[in-house]
């Protein structure tokens, strides 16, 4: 199936460096904003409070990710590849986000079908007849969800 990547070692930074860097940035931001994001009102109780476990987990994550980043400098990475390939991923993500954003206005059927059609196009489908397939699936899911499972879809 989809390759998870075999160490290419050609281009840097690759997926591993990018992902590790993002995790490190997230952990650092979490530690920086910990006090503002978690309000603790002390009533004289001793022992750990609502900040203790998050602080511990975030410090451990930052340390482990930093170690991985250092070790990755000597190891082969998984190349990011052709920008067109990343462009397809960004297009699918952006179209799904747009579908979700528009869903309260346009409804589940049009939002989900739109996202499905963009996915089909990004995966290389060009035959108009087969682009109807996501419409059919969206219609079945919408009808089944509303009337079969009584789910109040937007």
């Amino acid at each position: 199936m989809s390759s998870n990547g075999q160490g290419g070692g050609i281009a840097r930074p690759g997926f591993r460096t990018l992902t590790t860097g993002l995790l490190l940035a997230a952990a650092a931001w979490g530690l920086y904003s910990l006090d503002s994001q978690i309000q603790v009102f002390g009533f004289g109780a001793s022992g750990p409070d609502a900040r203790t476990f998050p602080r511990l987990a975030l410090w451990l994550l930052a340390a482990a990710v930093a170690l991985r980043l250092v070790l990755s400098l000597r190891a082969k990475d998984f190349p990011l590849g052709n920008p067109v390939r990343l462009g397809r991923v960004l297009t699918v993500t952006a179209s799904s986000a747009a579908a979700l954003w528009a869903m309260p206005q346009v409804g589940f059927f049009f939002g989900a079908a739109g996202a499905g059609i963009v996915v089909a196009l990004m995966l290389g489908e060009r035959r108009p007849l087969l682009l109807v397939l996501p419409l059919i699936v969206a219609a079945v899911v919408t009808f089944g969800g509303r009337h079969g499972l009584s789910i109040p879809l937007p």
């Binding site: 199936m1 989809s2 390759s3 990547g5 690759g14 997926f15 591993r16 992902t19 995790l23 952990a27 979490g30 994001q37 978690i38 309000q39 603790v40 022992g47 409070d49 609502a50 476990f53 998050p54 987990a57 975030l58 451990l60 994550l61 482990a64 170690l67 991985r68 070790l71 998984f78 390939r85 990343l86 991923v89 699918v92 993500t93 799904s96 579908a99 979700l100 309260p104 589940f108 989900a112 079908a113 996202a115 499905g116 059609i117 996915v119 089909a120 995966l123 290389g124 489908e125 087969l130 397939l133 996501p134 699936v137 969206a138 899911v141 969800g145 079969g148 009584s150 789910i151 879809l153």
Partner: protein, 491 residues
């Protein structure tokens, strides 16, 4: 109790649920890339309006069917439908190339069923006593148990230990979001009410396993299966005496699968290869392995099916999932009001035993449907991603929404999908993340409750025979891992 539980199964909907689950599982499992985890996560919303017993039976049927389905593409196309079928492909595909594909699939099917029956019996024997024992656990015992479980995932989950540790910590950090389990203080909620419930398990699962697959395929655009020809399937049969001759292989493989399954985070791939190696080393003709030995098909199949029952032991008795699939099943149990943990058997014993019996009895329809559907499933392996993945996208959006009827969960699913894509491309393992997410809140709660009880003294974590035993197990695990790391030849 057992008779009452059996009577619960005498219901048409239970039978329908089992059959639909097994058939769906065989077909979905045959499609490479659509493993049982994704299949169950996407099908959970379908079970919302069902009673708990048929709902869980449907999902477990999907799991059973998908594991066998995974061996179809492994044997006939050398493309494992699930990672655990990779060991099956070694000898299965060799058999298929010499025209014995049908026989290889029958060996796989019968071995799967034997592994499943064995692990179900172990599950029935061990889960309730373990849950009863765990009723005596206080917060300190639960905290130490979870430390041990998380450590096992990191040390023995396969692959890089540092990567597994990072994933556990990512899951734990994601589990922080929401209300503090002790004081109810909002944490990283950005002032939003939607964040106060935290990240729900099912949307995260759907994102990590289904949406990330869509993004990976958008990146790779690889056909699920190449243009490889399916070897001709001749009419064939497997005689009972052939299975009897490999009874020790089947027994040992089932034993390995079950007991490795009980250990959290290891999954079914490791026991499949362990069983394959053991069968080869015990064989009178080890050179036949790799060239189409039936035992080379039966051993990994018995082991990877036996993992189910084994992994369900800690999942149901302690609320600690064994792997990604049992994490999804745990989510399904919770959605149907059957919260896994020590109280499950006390409060919902009837439902749980009915589910166990159904898991055992579903071996019969699995054999029948497996034999009937494997020829159909071959055609399913030819489905192109561009036809399948748009439907998965729609189902992922629907599935995430339907958990709480909330678009916030769909955003969470999409975010988890992007994260899953990055992590999978960077070769980080996903199951430790999932288990970290599930265990973060109960671990923190137990840890803090224990410290509140002891007035902040850490002696409580070595204050009872159970905690001392768990600490000893934790230290032993570390020592074993260190021993094997030092013994590993360095290149």
């Amino acid at each position: 109790m057992l008779v009452d539980a059996f009577l619960e199964l005498l219901n048409l909907w239970v039978l329908v649920a089992a059959l639909v689950g097994i058939v769906s599982g065989i077909i979905i499992g045959a499609i490479p890339g659509l493993g049982p985890t994704m299949a169950i996560a996407l099908l959970i919303p379908v079970t919302f309006s069902m009673q708990p017993i048929p709902a869980i039976i449907l999902l477990l049927g999907v799991y059973q069917g998908a594991i066998f389905g995974g061996s179809i593409s492994a044997v006939l196309l050398n493309v494992p439908g699930t990672p655990s079928s990779a060991a099956t492909a070694i000898d299965g595909f060799a058999m298929a190339r010499r025209g014995e594909g049908g026989r290889a699939l029958r060996f796989a099917l019968y071995a799967s069923v034997i592994g499943n029956i064995f692990s179900c019996l172990v599950l029935m024997a061990l889960a309730e006593p373990l849950a009863r024992f765990a009723l005596d656990f206080g917060p300190a015992e639960m905290a130490m148990l979870m430390v041990f479980a998380l450590l096992v995932i990191v040390l023995f989950g396969g692959g890089s230990k540092l990567d597994a540790l990072i994933m556990v910590l990512v899951g734990a950090c994601a589990g922080i979001v929401g209300l503090d389990p002790i004081s109810g203080t909002p944490r990283f909620t950005f002032g939003s009410f939607a964040f106060e419930n935290g990240f729900q398990l099912i949307p995260v699962l759907i994102g990590l396993f289904a949406m990330s697959e869509v993004l990976l395929q958008a990146f790779d655009r690889e056909p699920l299966v190449g243009d490889a020809e399916v070897p001709p399937l001749k009419s064939s049969a497997v005689r009972f005496v052939e299975l009897w001759r490999m009874r020790m292989t089947l027994f040992l493989s089932s034993l390995i699968g079950t007991f490795v399954g009980i250990l959290p985070g290891i999954g079914s791939t490791v026991p499949a290869f362990m069983s394959y190696s053991l069968a080869r080393s015990r064989s009178a003709d080890p050179d036949a392995f790799g060239r189409g030995a039936p035992e080379g098909v039966a051993a990994p199949e018995a082991a990877n099916n036996a993992v189910t029952g084994g992994a369900l032991v800690p999942t149901l008795a302690l609320g600690i999932p064994g792997d990604a699939v049992t994490a999804v099943i745990l989510g399904a149990f919770m959605l149907h009001g059957l919260a896994p943990g020590p109280f499950l058997f006390r409060d919902h014993g009837l439902e749980v035993y009915a589910i166990f019996q159904a898991l055992l009895l579903s071996s019969i329809p699995t054999v029948i449907l497996g034999l009937l559907f494997f020829r159909v499933a071959i055609h399913v392996t030819r489905i192109q991603p561009r036809h399948l993945l748009p439907a998965i996208t729609i189902l992922a959006i629907f599935g995430a929404f339907s958990v709480n009827n909330s678009l916030f969960d769909v955003w969470v699913m999409l975010g988890a999908g992007v994260l899953g894509f990055l992590l999978r491309r960077a070769n980080f393992p996903l199951p430790p993340l999932l288990i970290g997410l599930i265990l973060a809140a109960p671990f923190e709660q137990s840890l803090r409750q224990a410290l509140l009880t002891s007035g902040g003294g850490y002696g409580i974590f070595v204050g009872s025979p159970i905690t001392i035993g768990l600490v000893a197990l934790t230290v032993l695990s570390l020592a074993i891992s260190l021993f094997f790391s030092l013994r590993k030849p360095r290149i």
